[in-house]
């Protein structure tokens, strides 16, 4: 046991004037005053620790709450139909039919991943996976959305190798297929890379579990890894003289992950669920025991009593405050009926998972924590976990945005000759954000579990849920920070539209949304305006598409110096497919099939990859997005998929048609002959625009010749613009992309240009 004597409630009453380091713990003067008011006395050091972490931006959403409410308000009846659990729980749960449900969520681990990229990214995966387990689900897939600084900056390799290594290490050891994600490079992320991690789990409806502590007398059990001194946010403060000088000194703020412990914990939890041994469950993530006890108690119907001495420690010198705040990984807290405790212990013992009973559910309405026989915490748990501060931060229309929007890419020189077009086409193919990402993705296992129907580089990842029926889900995520910088409202809708389209091209029906909103400092009114706009855009967009936001995460304070990152709202869309055997790959595999372009091409080069790569330009307004049209496109693709009319479908986004063609020929080495004349004529654009514009609502599909009439009939019946733009050609060593009348390029050259970029910097 610790020699450190914690500050007791009795002591707090006796010494009301003791100066407390609340400022250094991140609490403002009025927040500290509010805590004193709630308690009717000064908080103990343990209570102060709990309030400070639970009222932090990360845990309390105090700056974002007033905006996030829209996701619950802008909903139609249809959006609620399939939603079993909405926002506010560890993760949202969606009914996918046949008695199955899917739970999914994306979360950020940005700041730790800059300080210590390997462990930061690894524990990001670990944390989101525990959220999924705590819903009662078996995790079945992960994805990562990564944004790094400039590819040629000297610090980027450190961050990239660490982050990718950490994800690979943790995800592969957990046995979870990594089925997709994003990798972008932009100088705005130099001092603040974004590492978002998404996980998906599946469960039978009856296995749904929630985080609440109900039933007086039920036991509070902590199991998994031991509690150590890692991941204590305010550690340097807690261990300083202001508290007590006998405690350990500096503690690392970044957690250390042990995927083996988590893998065992997953299997152990699933067995506990199967045997019906758990009443409520909560994972330990940010704010550790402080968060788990206060949230479980708040969501229950009574109070909770905990004896902190029963926490199994990795380091016996930890103080009570540190135990309360530690973010040691791979821990879960369960509520267990006393008569089932022996059976519970038998299961955890089978898996060699260390476990201790900390206390029980009470009817006091208070969360009471003892340490060394003394009362160190006595609070109303709701004041810690739920009724934290809410801010309406100042919002200001950015002073620079009108000038930025006026600076359109329309004035930039566009290539006209075949040679220039070819040169720019290849420059884009080789550009860091469009180049082949195998250097990263070959470090991820997508085979494990044997249910992966699609994964990178397909537009969406797809997993079979039911081996008998073939029922499955597809998932894709997107965010274009450049578009969001130009217009955060439209940018968020564009991210939603693209993720939605990526799910639709796989043959699945989009059903639900998760988001990870990465922004700069909320104390900057212009950033707050960006946030407000992006949330409104996303909420409005979801209402138009009639798919609900089921949960997600907000990450503020992403800045390099005083410069905020581009607003980066990562949007994940989940879709359902009756039978994964009907999935549609994103590249063609055989010659002699017709290639069709669905949708209109407009002159929309503002914020495009072309403007950024060729002209180093960011300005203007992002492409128009018509969500009703996206819906029609998705319906059309599903109709074609059900009738098996299409062999491949690939969405057009970053890099436009040119990049989609490059990816389609490179994937399986099957060439193509393409003609742009009809696009140019029908849409009134030039060749460069036809190739590089990023207009929305567009997809290229390949169709067997014998199904031509039916396919075109289907498009015309739905009044969706369709043009035959080419045919797939021979594969093999002579395979080429022939953009007729403009340029020819061998598939080998496209592959080589695409493949050489990342190894050049990170090989």
């Amino acid at each position: 046991m610790s020699s450190h004597v914690a500050d007791t409630v009795e002591n707090a009453i006796a010494t009301p004037d003791k100066v407390q380091p609340y400022g250094a713990l991140g609490l403002k003067d009025d927040e500290y005053a509010e805590i004193r008011k709630i308690l009717g006395r000064r908080p103990t050091s343990g209570e102060l620790a709990m309030y400070s972490v639970m009222w932090s931006e990360h845990c309390s959403y105090k700056s974002s709450k007033i905006y996030l409410r829209q996701f619950g308000q802008k909903v139609s009846e249809k959006m609620k139909e399939k939603l079993m659990v909405g926002m506010g729980e560890n993760a949202g749960v969606v009914d996918v039919g046949e008695g199955w449900a899917v739970t999914f969520k994306v979360e950020s681990h940005n700041h730790p991943s800059y300080i210590e990229p390997f462990q930061g990214a690894a524990t990001g995966v670990g944390g989101i996976v525990r959220d999924i387990i705590s819903m009662g689900a078996r995790p079945v897939a992960v994805m990562d959305q990564l944004r790094f600084g400039a590819i040629d900056h000297p610090d980027t390799p450190r961050v990239l190798h660490g982050v990718v290594g950490g994800i690979s290490f943790y995800g592969n050891c957990l046995g979870l297929p990594n089925i997709g994600g994003e990798t972008y490079f932009d100088a705005c992320y130099q001092g603040n890379p974004l590492v978002n991690a998404l996980s998906v789990g599946v469960l039978r409806h009856e296995d749904l579990h929630l985080a609440n502590a109900s039933g007086v007398g039920n036991k509070i059990v902590l199991f998994g890894a031991r509690t150590g001194g890692d991941g204590i946010g305010g550690a340097s403060i807690l261990a300083s003289d202001s508290f007590d000088s006998t405690g350990p000194t500096k503690r690392p703020a970044v957690q250390v992950g042990d995927p083996f412990a988590e893998k065992v914990l997953i299997e152990c939890c699933l067995e506990l669920y199967r045997e019906g041994l758990v009443e409520g469950i909560q994972d330990l993530g940010a704010a550790g025991i402080s968060c788990a006890t206060s949230e479980l108690a708040s969501n229950g119907d009574g109070g909770m009593f905990v004896e902190l001495d029963h926490v199994l420690l990795r380091d016996p010198t930890l103080t009570a405050e540190e135990i309360l705040m530690s973010e040691s990984q791979e821990r879960m807290m369960a509520v267990v009926k006393p008569e089932l405790l022996d059976q519970f212990m038998a299961v955890v013992n089978k898996w060699d998972v260390e476990t201790s009973v900390l206390g029980e559910v009470t009817d006091t309405g208070r969360l009471i924590i003892h340490h060394g026989g003394e009362e160190i915490v006595n609070v109303d748990p709701r004041t810690v976990a739920i009724d934290g501060p809410v801010y309406e931060r100042p919002v200001a229309y950015p002073t620079w945005i009108d000038a930025l929007q006026a600076d359109s890419a329309d004035k930039l020189a566009r290539p006209t000759s075949g040679a220039e077009l070819k040169d720019q086409f290849l420059t884009l193919v080789a550009s860091p954000n469009l180049a082949d990402k195998s250097l990263i993705t070959t470090q991820y296992d997508y085979f494990v579990m044997g249910n992966t129907a699609l994964s990178f580089p397909d537009d969406a990842g797809m997993i079979r849920v039911d081996e008998e029926s073939g029922l499955g889900f597809a998932i894709a995520t997107d965010a274009n920070g450049r578009y969001c910088q130009l217009d955060p409202y439209q940018g968020a809708r564009l991210a939603l539209a693209e993720a939605y389209r990526n799910v639709a091209v796989s043959g699945a029906v989009p059903a639900a949304v998760t988001d990870c909103l990465n922004f700069g400092s909320p104390e900057n009114p212009e950033v707050m305006w960006q946030f407000k706009q992006a949330v409104a855009g996303l909420a409005d967009g979801c209402l138009e598409l009639e798919i609900p936001v089921t949960g997600g995460n907000v990450s503020f304070y992403n800045q390099t110096g005083d410069a905020p990152i581009h607003p980066t709202p990562v949007v994940g869309v989940l879709g359902v497919i009756d039978d994964v055997a009907r999935r549609i790959p994103s590249a063609w595999q055989d010659e002699g099939n017709n290639i069709y372009l669905l949708g209109f091409t407009r002159t929309e080069l503002d914020g495009s990859a072309w403007a950024g790569t060729i002209h180093n330009h960011l300005g203007g307004v992002p492409p128009v997005v018509d969500l009703n049209q996206e819906k029609e496109l998705a319906d059309l693709l599903q109709g074609a998929a059900i009738e098996s009319l299409i062999l491949s479908a690939h969405d057009l986004s970053d890099g436009g048609l040119g990049q989609a063609l490059a990816e389609s020929v490179s994937r399986f080495g099957v060439g193509a002959r393409i003609w742009l004349d009809e696009i140019i004529e029908r849409d009134g654009v030039d060749a460069a625009t036809a190739l590089f514009s990023e207009s929305t609502g567009r997809v290229i599909v390949s169709v067997p010749r014998e199904d031509d009439v039916r396919f075109v009939g289907l498009c015309e019946a739905r009044n969706y613009p369709v043009l035959r733009i080419g045919v797939t050609d021979q594969g093999g060593a002579d395979a080429k992309l022939d953009v007729q009348g403009l340029f020819e390029v061998s598939v080998d050259e496209i592959r080589q240009r695409s493949n050489e970029t990342l190894p050049k910097y990170f090989g």
Partner: protein, 233 residues
Amino acid sequence: MRVGVITFPGSLDERDAQRAVKLAGGTPVALWHGAHDLEGVEAIILPGGFSYGDYLRAGSIASHAPIMAEVIDAAHKGMPVLGICNGFQMLAEARLVPGAHGRNDCGTFVRRDQKLIVENNNTAWTKDFAQGEEIIIPLKNADGRFVADADTIKRIEDNGQVTFRYVGVNPNGSLDDIAGVSNKAGNVVGLMPHPEHAVEPGFGPDTAAAMRSGLDGLKFFTSVIQSTLLSKA
């Protein structure tokens, strides 16, 4: 035919191995590392994963698990035993097959659709292949570099104990491109790539014919299961 698949703490591909056994016409039996009971199975698979977090050395701690006493005994008596990836590492640690494994020479985990050549089709797990057949099997590991001293390499080459070799790309720096080896009797086979991930259309490796269509892994399991069924018929 009952084929046991052992679950160790940190095993990952045991459900895939069970599915493969089923697709090959056998009956998978889930065995537990902590038991001293093979439950009457006629063949055993040590699946892939990161048993015990690969702490100490990959496969090292698992090779001392309680059930391994029975596995080693059965292997010496001729029962077919297949070790896949982490299972291969366990077999090497238990000295049931020659050699050992080091970190991939590239330094990272590698996942790829790997071409192999069947160097010996005269083992319990390779009977259904043609000698010299080229197959595509998913590979995914961090510690897959096969190493052995020069005498051992010469001995296993001479004895025909090199069962599979990498073709085209040696993904991890294995000596002599060795991807899999057997014991001298040929009933125990270990390999780095994962045949259980190439057994079902739509979920296997890419082939020249189509995406995710590779089924070459199935023959590992049919080699044991079908020949046993035939011998009983």
